[in-house]
């Protein structure tokens, strides 16, 4: 590198030439050190240890916060420099051999492309905002350092997942994400519901991950390499039996299903709302994005199995519709939004299942930004009102400008209303599916309608109406919360411009007019219904029995938790108890009853405890040898 640089300096005759050369060389330097991007987060996590482990006690934990924020800034800057380099020079792949034995070679490979780096920048940016937000949200929390070291870890795993071009590295980092989700959800570990939430988050994801690991191991044996590019090549020539291909495909999509909170592994996201809000910001925006991103990387392999592709579309449709409906019946501010996350990721699954990864990426990008913004406004509401029950809120609008604007812009960006964020994702998806999959277009439109309805409903409950006791005194939040919120609000408004700058928006001539009309109409109808349905505060539970049953069904997420409890949980518990019983009474019981025969020997041996062990050692060796001789003698 140094040589290159000096060469560049030496050979450059005129200044502009030399300058460009230096720029190119520097860009290469940034690209070659791309592995540092995840390392920054880890450095922050490790540097926080003196505070999070309580070795520094006399002063507070804030330096750990600053270190982590600084590290995120550095990662953001480094990502930006690479992005610039890649933009000019085209994509690159960087690989290191990590482990090699026999025919088994594991690479740690990073692929740098405009999309990857864009996603990395998105993660770093949102992580930065979430961390500044957390500084305000958790200012009274003495475990700040522990929280931030987990956030650093979290961020490292996420940016690694995005850049990884090796399935093994991707799997490893997904597991890291699972672990850090567990730790972040479990941050307030003394709270009983947090305990179960952390457990369920880990175990649910772990189910998906184990299946994914099975797929990874099988794929490694089948294809030899775990680099995505090698796998894509392999897929073209491989001729697997349909059964094997199907099983492989299903195993591979299981991981993202868990990560993206898709049916039937979706419940953890609801429970994970027990965790601190700044972590929820990331979890509902970029963490699920990471899971979906992995799915997009896996899609060229999953195409081996039409069944798996169809499963993706079906799972996505069920989740999109189910979660949108469930969100309507939630009275918890955070949960109503978290279900909408599942619903949008369902749309992403549909897009991947119908082999339109571009649509998936577009939805992911726009959803991540707007959802993060919505969760920031939710955080400031919770902090101000000590409450996240929408029926106890109201009238916050005139008092909290930053929060109200953040929610409004986020909500507008979330639904397919021209021209903010998610409109473009919706539009692209509906356009592409218009001819081949009208039924999926309907699902897109229904989700849009229901989301618009729900967000309008929540807006009315929280920001409009009379102030209630808990919202009577509600001063706007302090600047560490307001600043990232306002920044993201502005950015959300600018997203369409940014997309245009990056050539992500289509020219108008290609737009399908009727699709556009349907989309905007569905959003308008949703907002219309949301704005007009009666919302009595005390209501929430309807007087009419059938409606109430439906409400409860949705409010409790179709009783999925109960379903788990009577199926999987009960099965595992029954098996565990059965094994334990069998162990105690059959295996050990048998042994003990046989053991009585030799008890005499055992009892007499007991006396050897008091001394002369050497003598007994000799006795045993001789005795055992003799016995052995005797046995084999009779044998032969």
């Amino acid at each position: 590198m140094v040589i290159l640089l000096s060469q560049a300096v030496a050979t450059g005759n005129c200044w502009p030439d030399r300058y460009t050369q230096i720029v190119v060389v520097m860009a290469q330097l940034w690209i070659e050190t791309c592995w540092l991007i995840p390392v920054y987060g880890l450095v922050g996590a490790i540097a926080s240890l003196p505070w999070s482990m309580g070795w520094i006690r006399l002063t507070g934990p804030r330096p750990a916060v600053y270190i982590n924020i600084l590290m995120t800034l550095v990662a953001l800057a480094h990502g930006g420099l690479i992005f610039q380099g890649i933009w000019n020079q085209g994509g690159q792949e960087i690989a290191f051999t990590w482990f090699e034995a026999a025919d088994f070679k594991l690479n740690l490979a990073f692929e740098l492309s405009v999309i990857n780096l864009g996603a990395v920048e998105l993660i770093a940016g949102l992580s930065l905002l979430a961390q500044v937000f957390a500084l305000g949200y958790l200012e009274k929390d003495w475990s700040l350092a522990r929280f931030f070291s987990m956030m650093g870890f979290f961020e490292a795993a996420m940016s690694g997942v995005i850049m990884s071009s090796s399935l093994l590295l991707t799997y490893s980092l997904l597991e890291m994400l699972t672990l850090s989700t567990y730790l972040l959800v479990g941050f307030w570990y003394a709270q009983p519901l947090v305990v179960t939430a952390a457990r369920d988050a880990f175990l649910t994801k772990r189910i998906g991950d184990t299946l994914l690991l099975m797929g990874v191991v099988a794929l490694s044996a089948l294809a030899g390499s775990l680099n995505f590019n090698d796998l894509y090549e392999w897929v073209k020539t491989e001729d697997l039996s349909p059964l094997l291909a199907t099983l492989l495909g299903l195993a591979l999509i299981a991981g993202p299903i868990g990560k993206c909170a898709q049916f039937p592994l979706h419940l953890w996201l609801d429970e994970a709302m027990e965790g601190p809000n700044p972590a929820s910001i990331l979890r509902n925006s970029v963490v699920v994005t990471c899971g979906a991103y992995v799915l997009i990387r896996l899609q060229p392999i999953v195409v081996l199995s039409p069944v798996a592709l169809a499963t993706l579309a079906v799972v996505g449709s069920i989740t999109a519709l189910g979660a949108s409906l469930v969100a309507l019946a939630q009275i918890d501010l955070k949960r109503t939004l978290s279900y909408s996350t599942s619903a949008y990721l369902g749309l992403v699954f549909i897009a991947v299942g119908t082999e339109w990864p571009g649509v998936a990426l577009m939805i992911l990008l726009t959803h991540a930004i707007t959802k993060a913004l919505l969760f920031m406004s939710v955080g400031s509401i919770i902090l101000t009102t000590n409450c996240q029950d929408v029926t106890e809120l109201g009238g916050l609008g005139p008092k909290m400008p930053a929060t109200t604007l953040a929610y409004s812009v986020g909500a507008l960006g979330m639904v397919g209303l021209f021209p903010l964020g998610c409109f473009w994702g919706y539009r692209l998806g509906i356009d592409f599916l218009w001819v081949d999959h009208p039924e999926l277009v309907a699902i897109f439109l229904i989700v849009n309608l229901l989301t618009a309805l729900n967000l309008t409903r929540v807006f009315r409950l929280v920001f409009l109406g009379e102030a209630q006791p808990k919202t009577r005194r509600a001063p706007e939040v302090a600047w560490p919360l307001a600043l990232p919120m306002v920044t993201l609000t502005v950015f959300t408004l600018l997203v369409p411009l940014v997309m245009q700058k990056l050539y992500l928006l289509p020219p108008w001539t290609y737009v399908n007019k009727s699709a556009l009309v349907c989309l905007i109409l569905s959003g308008v109808i949703g907002v219309g219904i949301g704005a007009t349905i009666p919302l009595s505060k005390a209501l929430i539970r309807s007087m009419s029995r059938p409606v109430r049953l439906l409400q409860d069904l949705l409010a409790y997420d179709f009783y999925t938790e109960r379903l788990y409890r009577v199926t999987v949980v009960r099965l595992v518990r029954a098996l565990a108890i059965a094994s334990d019983w069998f162990d105690r009474y059959v295996v050990d019981g048998l042994v003990n009853s046989v053991g009585f025969a030799s008890l005499l020997g055992g009892e007499s041996l007991k006396y050897s405890i008091s001394g002369q062990s050497q003598g007994y050692l000799f006795t045993i060796v001789v005795g055992v040898s003799l016995l052995g001789l005797l046995m084999t003698w009779t044998m032969w």
């Binding site: 003394a190 457990r199 880990f202 099988a218 052995g628």
Partner: protein, 515 residues
């Protein structure tokens, strides 16, 4: 070279036992720690001089001892044994370090620990069947005494059970060895894989059967495992560390060395059954662990599950899976050692290991936060989270085995999910929530306070945790020793590259390929 590994601890034990004058516990511990430290350094020296490219035995020492019996003093080390020697010395040091200084009859206690280290080292380097057997038996008595004298309330029962089981194991192994030598027509008991070539398949199968049960008891595998939870529960913490970390490895080491490598033909015939047995052991151990309420018992049952992976890998017997056995042995030794140390700390501070009453030990001021943090690390390592040694060794095991036994391997992988279940339950119950060490009552009590954990108590676990993470991030530090040995110990029965897709495809085309 290698004799020193046996002699240093044994001599240390002798000195400790016979040195005139009353030593305090602290002095005895210091002395034992120095002896173990010297053997650890010695292992490192051996490792530095070990040529990783030579497939066979190195540092061979050989002289006739009891010639009429065919008992030669023959030592040697290859890539299979070297990592185990390291872990033996490391955990030997750790367990001495983790022993309380004020202990009943310290000189006898530490002397016995040293004897175990010496005997286990001897067993790993012995290249004579009878010599191996002697060391194998030699380790038995000190362990018996360690449980029987310094154990819990039911120590007599547990120790006797351990003794009887292991004695049976010894008899079977000895019988098998005798059979191998006599049927193979060998003149001595020296280890020689060519010895068995002339034995017919049926006798080979019977000999292997005896060996499998013998080592199966030691490992332990279902259904010969019930001595283990009892022994662990009654043993003190350092003894548990030794038992789980080192002594069980004698069983798996014996399985690979004397089963797979000495009786390969019979092994090949039985291997589908062995893989099936591994699955049963893995799932049974893991499921039984879920039902446990004693933390130590849970860790003990998890050992049964995790040792099953080694049987699976040994059954598959591909070069990669044999490497996997070594890696898994080391990784299990380190991780279970760490878990037992931490459970021991919890027990010594709270007086209970009952998961139905312990709560919230992660409490930052009055609980055991560092122990809790290390425990989370330990259970995650055990559950196969990447970045720690458990993941990479399990991955090598699975990747090595799936080409031969796809269905069994996939079933065993369920074990990793179950590991997550029971260990997560442990962490969630014991370390999360509000601090408590008894069931909640209506009686008003002062706020709970647990005694502090000193750095001296923490260091052994921290050292193990560091090793676990280091080997997880840089697994070649672990695999490089055994790579040559496992790749070349014999030419694989099938050319792997070819066999891979075929066997997998067959398995799924005809899903009934379970034995």
């Amino acid at each position: 070279m290698l004799s020193a590994l046996i002699i240093i601890p044994l001599l240390g034990a002798l000195l400790l036992g016979l040195w005139p004058g009353g030593w305090q516990g602290g002095r005895a511990r210091q002395f034992a720690a120095i002896v173990q430290g010297v053997s650890l350094v010695w292992v490192v020296i051996v490792g530095c001089q070990f040529d990783i490219h030579v497939p066979g035995m190195q540092f061979v020492e050989s002289f006739a001892w009891v010639e009429p019996l065919g008992l030669d003093y023959q030592l040697g080390v290859d890539g299979l044994a070297l990592p185990l020697l390291f872990i033996n010395s490391l955990l030997g040091l750790i367990s001495v370090w983790a022993s309380p200084a004020r202990i009943l009859r310290p000189r006898l206690y530490f002397a016995l620990m040293l004897v175990i280290s010496g005997a286990v080292a001897g067993a790993f380097v012995a290249q004579n069947l009878l010599l191996f057997f002697i060391f194998y038996e030699l380790e038995l008595i000190p362990l018996y005494l360690l449980i029987a004298i310094w154990g819990g309330t039911r120590r007599a029962y547990a120790a006797t059970k351990f003794l009887i089981y292991t004695a049976v194991s010894g008899i079977l192994i000895l019988g098998s060895f005798l059979g191998v030598v006599w049927l193979g027509g060998g003149s001595s008991f020296n280890y020689d894989p060519t010895l068995t070539a002339s034995i017919d398949l049926l006798p080979q199968l019977i000999l292997l059967g005896a060996l499998l049960v013998g080592f199966g008891i030691k490992i332990p595998l279902f259904p010969f495992h019930t001595w283990l939870p009892d022994a662990h529960v009654e043993a003190s913490t350092p003894v548990s560390v030794l038992l789980a970390g080192v002594l069980l490895k004698l069983g798996t080491y014996g399985l690979v060395r004397f089963g797979l490598q000495l009786l390969p033909d019979a092994w090949e015939v039985l291997s589908p059954w062995l893989a099936g047995w591994a699955v049963v052991s893995v799932l049974y151990g893991s499921l039984a662990a879920i039902a446990q309420t004693d933390m130590k018992k849970m860790v003990a049952y998890s050992s049964i599950g995790h040792m099953g992976y080694i049987l699976l890998a040994a059954a598959a017997a591909t070069p990669l899976s044999v490497l996997g056995t070594v890696m898994q042995m080391v990784s299990h030794g380190l991780i279970s050692g760490l878990l037992f140390l931490l459970v021991g700390l919890v027990y010594s501070k709270t007086g209970t290991r009952d998961m139905t009453v312990l709560r919230g030990l992660l409490n930052p001021e009055r609980g055991l936060p560092v122990v809790g943090t290390l425990m989370i690390l330990g259970v995650m390592a055990s559950g196969g989270i990447p970045g720690m040694v458990g993941f990479v060794s399990e991955l090598v095991v699975f990747r090595g085995s799936i080409v031969v036994f796809p269905v069994q391997t996939l079933l065993s992988m369920i074990g990793t999910a179950l590991t997550a279940v029971y260990f997560l339950l442990l962490v969630n119950r014991v370390f999360f929530g509000r601090l408590a060490i008894t069931l909640p009552t209506d009686v008003i009590q002062p706020d709970l306070i647990l005694p502090p954990v000193s750095w001296a108590e923490r260091w052994p676990s921290i050292v193990l945790a560091v090793v676990i993470v280091a080997l997880g991030i840089q697994p070649s530090w672990l695999s490089r020793w055994s790579e040559t040995a496992s790749l070349t110990w014999r030419s694989p029965t099938v050319t792997v590259a070819q066999a891979v897709p075929d066997s997998l495809c067959e398995a799924f085309a005809t899903p009934t390929c379970l034995p």
